[in-house]
């Protein structure tokens, strides 16, 4: 199954991409997605401070991710 990952601001800059897809065998937690992501694109400094969203809703690190979901790693925001 496929998980879509979105990166923004300094995380996208470090990864040199805003979108990453990972193939996994079973449902997993956001925390596990975070680990797999960095195995794929390399260590992302500051990702542990990112807010987490699945399908555009904030979730906890333990939030579950299933086939087709979009996981976003949201660096501390600075709008306004």
């Amino acid at each position: 199954m496929m998980i879509n990952i979105l990166l923004f601001a300094n995380l996208a800059q470090q990864a040199e991409t805003e979108k990453v897809s990972i193939e996994v065998n079973s449902a997993l937690s956001v925390k596990e997605v975070r680990t797999l992501l960095q195995q794929k694109v390399g260590k992302l400094t500051g990702i542990e401070n990112a807010l987490l969203a699945v399908n555009e809703e904030y979730v906890e690190l333990t939030g579950q991710v299933k086939d087709g979901d979009t996981v976003a790693f949201i660096p501390p925001v600075s709008g306004g």
Binding site: L6, F8, A9, N10, Q13, V30, G46, E48, N49, A50, L51, L52, A53, E56, E57, Y58, V59, E60, L61, G63, A72, I74, P75, P76, V77, S78, G79, G80
Partner: protein, 153 residues
């Protein structure tokens, strides 16, 4: 006009104000956030904003709903611009209408503070001596639970 909008176009303040006009409103409070040139010794040349647009619009709408829970007759509209902005350009415009002035002042303050907490928008400063993504407005905040307070339903 959409009440909660992320836009690449310049913001028209009057459009934001017009969208909260109501016959039972006795006050409309407007907050306008603009691009500042000097931050301490740092001189900004221009700014770049990016957003997770669909989620950012949902979070703006959520702020409007929170305001309506706290101040039940309030009507809120928020437009935030993204892309490249020059000094004194309008980054955000917030309008809140309420029956009485005190609530309008408080609610517009609430809206801008909440934008800085929960709306996925990022600012990149292009200074005269380099560039930097701004992590948060204080530069000190971390989220060990993965989110700010009170955002997970």
């Amino acid at each position: 006009m959409k009440k909660y909008k992320i836009t690449t176009e310049p913001i028209n303040n009057q459009d934001v104000i017009d969208s909260v006009v109501h016959q039972n409103a006795g006050a409309i409070s407007v907050f306008i956030g603009t691009v500042r040139e000097m931050t301490g010794q740092k001189q900004t040349k221009f700014l770049h904003y990016e957003a997770y647009v669909p989620m950012a619009e949902k979070q703006l709408e959520r702020i409007g709903m929170e305001i309506q829970e706290k101040w039940p007759s309030a009507i809120t509209a928020i437009s935030h611009r993204i892309g490249t902005l020059q000094i004194s350009d309008i980054a955000v415009a917030i309008a809140v209408s309420t029956p009485h002035r005190q609530d309008a002042f408080e609610a517009s303050r609430y809206a801008i503070e909440r934008i800085k907490e929960i709306v996925p928008i990022w600012k990149k400063e292009h200074y005269t001596d380099g560039e930097e993504w701004i992590g948060n407005q204080q530069g000190t905040k971390t989220y060990p639970a993965g989110h700010p307070e009170e955002v997970v339903k």
